[in-house]
């Protein structure tokens, strides 16, 4: 499979305020190297503050790295013109943990899902509506949802809308940032099935960020373990989780409560 994303030697630090006038440098990412091939599902695990989300933001081109190189489809996003970067951005999308925070509650489902399409393409209102209806069908929502707002929906339904919105431009890479952490287990099962099904039918590439090792094991072919800004271990999911080598991964696996039925 061709390489879709290559992150090499990426460093990132933030200046944080330490009292009124003192500033302190906080190294958030140190020497990060990641390669994602087309069609892969990669898990990125680690605790709060380990740098998972910062890495995702750098990959998406939302913030620049201090040093190092991020190549998406062979192109360095930061080196592109504004228009060029905008064009590349349609190939990536992100789904956040909590749809009630990430989606505008005042927009209808039609407008939420149509927004990325409107930003990149010109099409008639009727064609747009037809496309959105198709996307909703992909995520298992009926046409009757078009004019509803997410405030009147359950967590699982709202997350489906967020997924439909992420799929709107048929992106090459979808970043899933804790996509089921806010959901009940029964709803989580539905959303995980949906994501697996979409990948099987459309060949999407996933970068799945989560702290839930069971979810990673269920979804990801390979896994990267982050701790304190570094990737401490990576490899095939089952190999890493069955016999973790790094002390941090060992602690993570040991601390995860075992599913009572397994």
């Amino acid at each position: 499979m061709p390489e879709l994303l290559s992150v090499s030697q990426v460093y990132k630090s933030f200046l944080i305020s330490d009292g009124m006038f003192r500033k302190r440098q906080l190294d958030v990412l140190r020497d990060i190297n990641v390669i994602i091939e087309e069609g892969e599902a990669i898990g990125l695990v680690g605790e709060s503050g380990s740098g998972k989300t910062t890495l995702a933001r750098i990959i998406m081109g939302m913030i620049p790295a201090d040093s190092g190189e991020v190549l998406f489809d062979g192109l360095d996003l930061t080196a592109l013109s504004k228009a060029g970067r905008r064009e590349r951005r349609r190939d990536m999308a992100i789904v956040y943990q909590n749809p009630f925070v990430s989606l505008n509650p005042r927009l209808s489902v039609l407008d939420l899902v149509a927004e990325p399409i409107r930003a990149h393409e010109r099409m008639s209102r009727a064609a747009l509506k037809q496309r959105v209806t198709g996307l909703l069908a992909d995520v298992g929502l009926e046409e009757s949802y078009l004019n509803r707002r997410i405030g009147a929906m359950s967590g699982g339904q709202a997350q489906r809308v967020a997924i439909a919105r992420a799929l709107a431009l048929k992106p090459k890479l979808i970043v899933l940032d804790e996509p089921t952490s806010a959901l009940d287990v029964s709803v989580q099962a539905q959303v995980l099935n949906l994501l697996a099904n979409l990948r099987a039918t459309h060949g999407y590439t996933y970068l799945l960020i989560t702290h839930n090792l069971d979810v990673v094991r269920h979804m990801a072919d390979r896994v990267l373990v982050m701790s304190q800004g570094e990737i401490v271990e990576h490899g095939a999911t089952d190999a890493i989780l069955d016999s973790p080598q790094h002390p941090y991964t060992q602690a993570l696996v040991a601390a995860t409560p075992k599913s009572p039925s397994s």
Binding site: S48, N98, F100, Q188, D214, P257
Partner: protein, 279 residues
């Protein structure tokens, strides 16, 4: 008579759209020193059941029961001042929002001690440091002087447990106490709750949607669905070989080693309320 006795508890919300029964005839008996799990999904009534033990149900709620008692206290008397903090205390999911951001940890626990005890200033200070040490905070003096944002989520939850115990409560309601925490921190908080039960003889009602967590800490468990208990018994037995199809369905819906590439069985539609959210 069990330490916590709930018999035929009904909670009805009087909404503008009409009455809505959210707890429908729940009966529970929890022995002293037990960790009793209540598991269920959003909207199943697990939190509402627990808040009736503190009189913290919303204003629109109408609560009735044949028996509702904790220790010596008959809660149907509604003598909440004698119950809250002194007999029953509660900790919540998100410690950061349960603490007041503009007061130090020490000041917030001291406020509880002033309200509920006769201790003088010096004795309160000693008790404060003792409590912080008891919940495993490494540097009690420093933690007492810290504001909530200066300490980690795990330390915040420990501080809240110290606050919950400060007025001498024998019963702790823990409502999703580790859902907002990282797994390694979760493991520490679960160990702390178990050791407090062993040391102090605390009775703990542990509310969670996470079956794995429940199986790790609880002696007994009740599974709630649509405001009713569908199954109850020793945690091992219920979660290893459940009798009720809903419990079975919840277990099957959780991803587990070996489930990759398979479709996760979803809980039958008639069993799901409205697939809510914990956030």
């Amino acid at each position: 008579m069990a330490y916590i006795e709930i018999d035929n508890l009904q909670v009805v919300l009087e909404l503008a759209t009409g009455p809505l029964a959210v707890v429908k005839g729940v009966s529970l008996a929890v022995e002293k020193g037990e960790i009793f799990g209540i598991v269920g999904e959003s909207g199943s009534g697990k939190t509402m059941t627990c808040t009736t033990l503190l009189g913290l149900t919303p204003n629109v709620a109408r609560v009735s029961a044949e028996t509702l008692s904790v220790g010596e206290h008959n809660l149907l008397d509604k003598n909440w001042a004698a119950v809250r903090g002194r007999e029953v205390a509660m900790i919540f999911q998100d410690p950061a929002s349960a603490l007041n951001p503009v007061f130090t940890i020490g000041a917030q626990i001291d406020a509880v001690l002033r309200r509920h005890t006769e201790l003088n200033k010096k004795a309160r200070r000693a008790r404060l440091l003792e409590l912080l040490e008891q919940v495993g905070l490494p540097d009690p003096l420093r933690t007492a002087a810290s504001y909530p944002h200066q300490i980690s989520g795990g330390m915040q939850q420990r501080a809240l447990i110290a606050m919950a115990l400060s007025a001498g409560a024998n019963t702790l309601i823990a409502d999703e106490p580790t859902t907002a925490l990282d797994v390694t921190v979760q493991a520490q908080i679960l160990a702390l709750l178990k050791s407090l039960r062993d040391q102090l003889g605390l009775t703990i009602l542990f509310v969670s949607h996470d079956l794995a967590v429940i199986s790790q800490v609880c002696d007994k468990v009740a599974v709630m669905l649509h405001g009713e208990i569908v199954e109850t018994g020793p945690a091992d037995a219920v979660l290893k070989s459940p009798d009720h199809p809903y419990t079975r369905a919840l277990l099957d819906a959780s991803p587990k080693p070996g489930s990759r590439g398979t479709v996760l069985p979803t809980v039958a539609a008639q069993m799901v309320l409205h697939g809510g959210s914990h956030a």
